[in-house]
Amino acid sequence: MDGLAQFVIAIGHLATPESLFHVAWATLLGIIVGALPGLTATMGVALLTTLTYSLDRDAAILSLICMYVGAIYGGSRSAILLNIPGTPASAATTLDGYPLARQGKAAYAMGLATAGSALGTLVGILLLVLIAPPLAEIALDFGSFEFFWLAVFGIVISGQLAGGLSPLKGYIAGILGLLVAMVGSDGIHAHVRFTLGVDALNGGIGLIPAMVGAFGFAEVLTVMWRGKAALVSGLLGSDRTIPRLLDLWRYKFTIARSGIIGTLVGIIPGVGEDIGAWGSYAIAKKFSKERDQFGKGSMEGLTAAETGNSAVVPGALIPALTLAVPGSAPAAVLIAALFIHGIRPGPMIMLEAPDFVYLVAAMLFFATIAITIYGLTLTRLFVLVLKVPREWLMPVIFVLCVIGPYALTQRIFEIWVMFAFGLIGFVLRQMNYPMAPLVLGIILGDLLDKSLRRGLTLSNGELDPFFTRPISAVFAAIVILSIVAGMPPVRRLAGRMFGSGMRREVER
């Protein structure tokens, strides 16, 4: 109850004209970024980080969170109208959103997606307020051994789930991210590693240039590489936008369940919004009375997918704030932004800045109100946004990809890093390597490196404490079980026993 009271106080703190102005522009920008196919929430948050250096702490973080919430929600626009998810988070939305649009119910589908997103985020906010403070308290007991396993757990689980049918590629992406983090001065003895004589690498590879490259430049290349999409047009005028309360009440259990699933998926490091949506959709289909309608224009399916992906956003911020381990790729950029603005996420956050967790929850709340207002009133504007030709938009995006990382340190070298990561990101993505474990690896590399070496120093080289301390033992067991479960023979056996995987269940 104390947490909820703090949350209400934080809402009052943010209810100023200046904050509301930041909510208004950043959420609208986020929805536009999310709605445009090829522009992802991660790219939006990364680029906006470079545009908010000069803002004060609260305004900057508020803008970034509004961008994050807006972009995840905005992806549903193109999913419904183009049959192309604006962001990967909206992939499940296409299954029922596009059929609804073809039935002439595009406006109502977008209204329903808006309600689902808003309610999903609200469920997530509630869980954030309730879970984050006790989790931070538990994390205060973590030592080097536990933090080592936490980092390994993040990489393995992220690789396993983000890799989909090929966890091996997820693991490889995670290891590559960890190796990237090994470049530059090490965190214990400040010994310079793997710089190949390039002085500019002494400080390591910056997260922001790497992320802007892997998510921004790689997206520019991908969008120009692919063919144009066909917009479902002329289907908006015939239907209402505001969802009927009866429809929402009918799906109350689906909304609550999808909200909880999304939040829990968000808490798992580096898994992300798309898995939250697919998981919610699959479970909703399993328990639905109208499961035969799923994939043909089911309102329940659409609601489940949108509630699930939006609930991941607050969920992903729970480990990001309390453990400094991001629950999703955009949350990884947010961690970098928090450091830039003087907030140190991690177990100490409840001691150093106890109000901040509630402030973030209040920021999410304002972003939710904004997406609801925009989503129900600006439907036609978003259709116009989808008509912006890519050959006009992409060079502008690339200009921001160039100047954003440069602005951070004012070194041309950061542009080269961005460019290199863009090419690597493009190739890896086309080869079906997930990006989330790579990003998580870059973020967690330093933690893993320092924790392992500090732990071994404390135990005088003995490995026992890594397996015998209670929390370490639990993490170790989960990691080992996950790796074993990801092995092809075990997966085949499990597939025969329990049927095919989640996505196949959805598509069936």
Binding site: I175, M182, F217, P395, V399, G461
Partner: protein, 162 residues
């Protein structure tokens, strides 16, 4: 060769194996800082060595899985390597050559105008080539965007532009 094909996976496995080997070797020969009398378990090369070995194991597993028959990859996407090549060329020209050599705003205006006009021109029908009005619109858009972005970073964020 498709990038999501078994053949591509085999090539990647080889590259990753070599990368893992290089990381392992690099970690092994890395200075152990004995002169600073650090604990032997905290040598800087420890984690790179472990990661290198793990990458080699994963690369071997990737090569093994690429050798096994797999389910179809579904319908091929409509993609254009020529569009990709031109995009890469323009972006490389701007980011790696123009920025830092030319003043930022003019370099940006030239990049946006060139990029946009190239794709408008090459993707239009011969009978419906863009007219003077389109060209002028692109030039105005690229100029306004370039000088707008430059002004935002220079005066708004106090960045010394390249």
């Amino acid at each position: 060769m498709r990038l999501d094909s078994p053949a591509a996976d085999r090539v990647t496995a080889l590259v990753l194996f070599l990368l893992g080997g290089a990381a392992t070797y690099g970690g092994f020969v890395m200075d152990r800082l004995e002169n600073r009398q650090i604990h032997p378990a905290s040598i800087p090369g420890l984690v790179p060595m472990i990661l290198g070995v793990m990458l080699m194991v994963c690369a071997a597993a990737l090569a093994w899985s690429a050798a096994r028959p797999r389910e179809g990859n579904g319908a091929a996407e409509t993609v254009s390597w020529s569009r990709f090549g031109v995009t890469l060329f323009w972006c490389a020209l701007y980011a790696l050559a123009a920025v830092g050599q030319l003043p930022f705003a003019p370099a940006t205006a030239i990049f946006i105008a060139g990029f946009t006009l190239w794709f408008i021109w090459t993707e239009s029908d011969r009978a419906a080539r863009p007219g003077l009005a389109t060209v002028l619109a692109v030039l105005a858009f690229s100029g306004a965007t370039a000088f707008g972005v430059a002004a935002l970073f220079r005066y708004g964020f106090l960045v010394r532009l390249p």
